[in-house]
Symmetry: C2
Subunit: 393 residues, 2 copies
């Protein structure tokens, strides 16, 4: 009577959701302060005052129809110009408004790209560990997701495995840097080598750069991918940079240099249409333009990451140093990451198994939570590690 696939997608609980719900239940039993929930990637730095002030000023001073009317599908032309200029100032690029398509957040942005590009039989490639919705979204447009195996020493790219998956069916490569869940930022060398391999392949393949965490990088530079490879679509979101995940606002950059700009921009408009993203929320288009070039103070994330990293290393965990986003992705203390996360629950440490992201044997700890909670969690991580020492003996 209903679509079996939609029912499955709408009802099968994700691991993260199950952990989160367990956390809510435990919090009711033992108190919120005794639960150490590292499961959710929800920004905890508040939306900056300048965003709220911009929204209030627009509501108070603009004509309502200017604020709340339909915009054309790619977005308010002035907003697109303003955001293009802001990108240009930062990355020394030369975009105009016509190079931007404003979207309802990054999930819409990437899926619009998938749908715009996908032809029957197409494959998309991404790199483990990866955001699991990629698989859902790629399959929803009738294509297949191929996953390159992880490179745990630094969570950069395993190019040997990548080359094995590249084929005549490859339509695009999805990269996510700063990365959820690894916290890695792809180095310029990584991006350059990826670009080189794709250029040498002899057939046009796109890069879809999913960059919701662009602003969250700690002392490392996040490369502007189109500088390295012209056939790149950059997908951005204000969910993290302005702590606005509920408002659904972001954009796609379609550079002039891309092959067949008109074809691609046209197909993006068609994909947005059938995905019923009539236009990105109009007030928020104006707000992000008014706040162009600004972003949240990321110090709290940086401090949290350092405290958690140092604490885990001191407790005997192995972990790549955090470079960006708000996740650590340490090695689990046993091969079975699900069993490890179950054991951690006994200490009310809520962690997500790495297998959920295509990297078994690891776990994700989201540190976008209160610093004090992280500090109080460290003795528990230590106890957990000590329990493993006992087991191993």
């Amino acid at each position: 009577m209903v679509s079996a696939k939609m029912y499955e997608l709408g009802t099968k609980k994700s691991t993260i959701r199950t952990i989160f719900e367990f956390g809510r239940k435990r919090a009711a039993e033992v108190g919120e302060e005794n639960i150490f929930d590292f499961s959710l990637g929800n920004p905890n730095v508040p939306t900056p005052d300048f965003v709220r002030d911009a929204a209030i000023e627009i509501l108070k001073t603009y004509e309502p129809a200017q604020v709340h009317g339909y915009t054309v599908a790619p977005g308010n032309p002035n907003v697109r110009e303003t955001l293009a200029k802001s990108i240009n100032a930062r990355f020394n690029t030369n975009y105009a408004g016509k190079n931007l398509f404003i979207t309802s957040g990054a999930a819409a942005a990437i899926t619009i790209c998938f749908k715009a590009l996908a032809e029957p039989g197409d494959e998309f490639i991404t790199f483990a560990p990866y955001f699991p919705e990629y698989k859902v979204f790629v399959e929803s447009v009738g294509a297949t997701l191929k996953v390159v195996k992880p490179r745990p020493e630094d969570w950069q790219i395993d190019f040997d495995d990548f080359k094995k998956l590249l084929s005549d069916k490859t339509k695009a490569v999805i990269i996510n840097s700063p990365n959820n869940p690894s916290g890695a930022v792809y180095s310029k060398e990584t991006i350059a080598k990826l670009a080189e391999i794709l250029k040498d392949f002899g057939r046009e393949i796109f890069i879809i750069a999913d960059e919701p965490y662009r602003e969250l990088a700690y002392g490392v530079e996040v490369a502007w991918v189109p500088d390295f490879y012209k056939n790149t679509l950059v997908c951005y979101s204000y969910s993290k940079s302005f702590s606005l995940p509920g408002e659904r606002i972001g954009y796609i950059v379609v550079p002039d240099e891309i092959s067949a700009f008109d074809k691609i921009f046209g197909a993006i408009a068609g994909a947005a249409r059938v995905l019923t993203h009539v236009n990105a929320p109009s007030l928020w288009q104006l707000v992000v333009a008014k706040c162009a070039g600004k972003s949240v103070d990321i110090t709290p994330y940086e401090v949290n990451g350092k405290i958690l990293y140092d604490g885990l290393i001191a407790a005997g965990f192995e972990c790549v140093k955090p470079q960006g986003a708000f996740y650590l992705f340490p090695k689990a203390l046993e091969a079975d990451d699900y069993a490890f996360c179950e054991r951690a629950k006994k200490y009310d440490l809520l962690l997500v198994p790495g297998a959920d992201f295509g990297a078994p044997g690891y776990f994700r700890a989201a540190y976008c939570i209160k610093q004090e909670t992280i500090e109080r969690s460290l003795p528990l991580f230590k106890k957990l590690a000590e329990e493993y020492k006992t087991i191993r003996k």
Copy 2:
């Protein structure tokens, strides 16, 4: 290199778009005041102050994370409860929050329903004249749209033709009352007869009631369809009732009485997920809850409709009296409605051919424009009618 279908959907200009662009060009040549643009269904009654005030109060007084954080996919639980109570107070129903799924407007709401329900080979039925995006959206979920022929005497339902199209493939029937483009409101008798035919069919068929124009009815009652037929999904939008089309906010009502509530609600969640409607914009969820039960003053639309209707009748046009929405759908003065609309352009009257809505020989005039523009257009409609009298002689 791209999806040919998406490119076509993103670049093929609709008739309405072409007319609108012609209008912009003419306005630049002869002045805005000399263009009589009846082509766009864009609400011209400003967003009410109570909506703006609610938004500002929320921004000023709530914690940012409460306003801008992700909500669960079906929407903020408190918002869903509030809206359910508001519906109950008005329609004497008994819904709870769990019966509502908040969406990014009505386009998302109906397409989520299509995607949730559609199984391979399914057909959806609607009634001419109809909103042309229905065809795009139904086909995008892999189903087929069947269109019942129009009933021009009152734009109610041609039940004989409807019965011919009903089959074992029919998954759902899409109704849109008040109607775009006819302005008709389905009478209780129409809804009751539709329900009776569906009940007698011996197989479960859903009604999807697309109701963005619910609040825009002039002296007639808009039936609450689930009162007549239990397998009804009601899709609502605040685009017209609060003049917020750019903000993308609406909902789906899934009554308890529907067959297999859990299956349907689950499939709706899955469909919203793959259409990347992560959640409806979170600030606007709070705003519409705060303004529950209120709506814009529809008097300007009612006055406009009456002036245009009286003027057209006086000029010799045939037209069903406006009952709702902000459209008139008169008979064209020649069989070829495209030729008629071309001739009207000479007088800078911009009208949309009825064939675009599945009803050739008619035209749509959207009267959500300035009253003064309508008044000044009437002598031109008269001249146009007189030109036809000369032609006929």
